[in-house]
Symmetry: C2
Subunit: 390 residues, 2 copies
């Protein structure tokens, strides 16, 4: 099977030959190949990677649910979500599946989802998301983080549930503002890293706490990571603190994070400070992107389109040059793939015939204009066309 | 002519009867009206209003032009734009027309555009934009601000050009960072307000300068406005300073701005502080929205879609509740219309049959999901369908 008239990310034109679901060769463009799918010169991107999504939170497909948070603190939103969850009549399998379909249509073929676990929910949401993963296994890879949305100490019994979640199929242990939510840095990290060690699992901790207090928690996570030899298996999500401390503090932190192999996830926050992405990358820190909330009890916004997310990250980071937009795109493609440990990723001869096409002439233009994806191809098969699943 | 099965902004269902380009009546929905245009329950919004666009800057329709700014200062970007402008081979009439077509297809029927004027450009860009205004006069209203993009004092001769621009058809006098660019607050405002007074024209000043220094300039603009009796005819665009000073300073400023009748335009800046929109509105200040740069020498981003802009404003302002999203929408509809002085605006019996339909059940949902506009109607005539001009 041949996809003709592709523009590769480096700007070159070629035909892409596919055999057995893999890219067998890049060939000179030929105007007269019968049965080829003509890409018409659209740019070919590797699959988009959503490094931080919440498949169990979204209300996508339900009638509009107004935000019910009484205040602007993380704790207010946790309470509001309890009320929304108690009122919802549709299982998370359905709404989460709506979201998977929407993101695949926009070119995302790999994602890391956090799944809420606390002493009221137990492992219910995990079971829903495990069903989603199984249901869409031929379409997307889904990595699952067991996420203590209500805290670990504040919600007694949660540590054991997180441990059990890993046993039942979650891939990583999550955490949440050890100081801001649980009020005990060491006890929170003892629980998280203890479970990670027992299961040889990775770690991905939500860290909203800002300023030097937030930074101290990030540094404690880096220290634990190094001490336990977990380099490359730990991420801090959000890490707003890195964007709210002076540049010299952020620079020292970057060096520590790079040495510890701790990655930083940013969704390009609208109402909080954004980590200094270029500084982090220049100092060797892996930075990657994710959607975070998509039409749920936390936020009315979000679409799951990772090109739009790259735009939002770039917009918030004040990126304007092509190389900066390419960094934003890297965060939602190759860097995300590295963090998720995807060995079989990327547009290359012998690689999987997984790619996304979008009408643009450069990577920067693809991020800036975010046109509807003309094709999404998985293992050589067209799975979406013009933004709609086929 | 009848548009059936409309959902009005208050959530009610009705048919909209149109005669002579105006809404003659709202009628109970009737399933069997022949020749009616069935809106299928989509929500009907008044026309979107772009309160700040740069029709002469956009490069829309040209091959991708990478950003060439050497630094992150306003002065760096002014220099970069000179280079981009010197190299462009297509007249501003064409690229600006591309933009008008794109924004009309997304539901914008009214806009205020700034037009660059300095001692190198002269009135060339004004003439291009006057041609655009004439060309699209049956489709959109275009208000023109004579904008001294290179400063007034820094670009000798510009004051006279601004004055001449008003004579030739511009509607308002612009200004630009009286301190940050021109280094002389009083001399800059003398020029701007002098021209405004001579022509009884409005004023709209770009103010990027932050902190207390920026705030002092905003207060000076308010003082001039009150002294000259120009209440309701003056706007400050961007006003990043209002978002970077302590809340009590911003509150005092809000009271002063409200008394002076000075409006504040925000585009929901990505890389700068956003004015406290709710605080300003609560204190009686008119706040409205605009696109600012759209794929030009300043920014690779921007689409001209004012529902997307309302989302960006809401995202940056940390809006989440329905009432907050309604404020963001108001900024790009009714508030924009008030600032632009549009007397004939709004969905009401006897009003113009100008409206936009979008698949959503509430205003908040329309902002959050920003679906493609199903219809754009101008004077009872369908001018765009599913995001494409007809």
């Amino acid at each position: 099977m041949r996809f003709s008239n592709a523009t590769l990310p480096d700007g070159s034109r070629c035909d892409i030959e596919v055999e057995g679901g893999r890219i067998s060769a890049f060939l000179p463009t030929s105007p007269s190949t019968p049965d080829a799918v003509d890409l018409g010169g659209t740019i070919v991107l590797p699959p988009l990677v959503d490094g931080h999504i919440h498949l169990d939170k979204t209300l996508l497909g339900l009638p509009w649910v107004p935000n019910q948070s009484a205040g602007n603190q993380v704790s207010d939103r946790i309470e509001a979500e309890r009320r929304v969850r108690a009122a919802r009549m549709v299982p998370e399998f359905e709404t989460g599946s709506n979201l998977v379909r929407q993101v695949v249509a926009s070119g995302t073929l790999h994602m890391r989802t956090h799944v809420d676990i606390d002493n009221q929910l137990g492992l219910r949401n995990l079971h829903e998301v495990l069903k989603i993963r199984e249901h869409f296994r031929d379409l997307v890879t889904i990595e699952i983080v067991a996420f203590p949305q209500s805290g670990i100490l504040r919600s007694p019994g949660t540590a054991a549930l997180l441990d059990e979640a890993i046993t039942q199929g979650a891939d990583l242990v999550g955490g949440l503002d050890p100081v801001g939510i649980d009020g005990d840095l060491d006890a929170h990290l003892d629980a998280v890293f203890g479970i990670a060690q027992r299961h040889s699992a990775g770690v991905d901790i939500h860290l909203h706490d800002g300023g030097e207090g937030g930074l101290a928690q990030i540094m404690a996570i880096a220290a634990r990571t190094e001490a336990l030899g977990l380099q490359g298996k730990v991420a801090v999500s959000h890490a707003f603190a890195l964007g709210s401390v002076p540049t010299d503090s952020a620079t020292r932190a970057a060096d520590t994070l790079a040495r510890a192999g701790v990655a930083i996830m940013s969704h390009g926050p609208g109402g909080a400070t954004i980590p200094p992405l270029k500084l982090l990358r220049e100092h060797g820190v892996e930075v990657f992107g994710g959607s975070d909330n998509i039409r749920d009890a936390w936020s009315p916004f979000g679409s799951g389109d990772m090109l739009e997310r790259a735009m939002l990250i770039g917009y918030r980071a004040n990126f304007r040059h092509d190389a900066e937009l390419a960094l934003a795109l890297d965060m939602v493609t190759a860097a995300g793939a590295r963090v998720l440990g995807l060995a079989d990723y990327g547009i290359k001869a012998g690689g999987p015939a997984d790619f996304v096409t979008v009408e643009a002439t450069t990577l920067a233009e693809a991020v800036a204009t975010r046109k509807r994806r003309s094709l999404v191809v998985k293992a050589g098969r067209i799975v979406a066309r013009d933004g709609t699943l086929v």
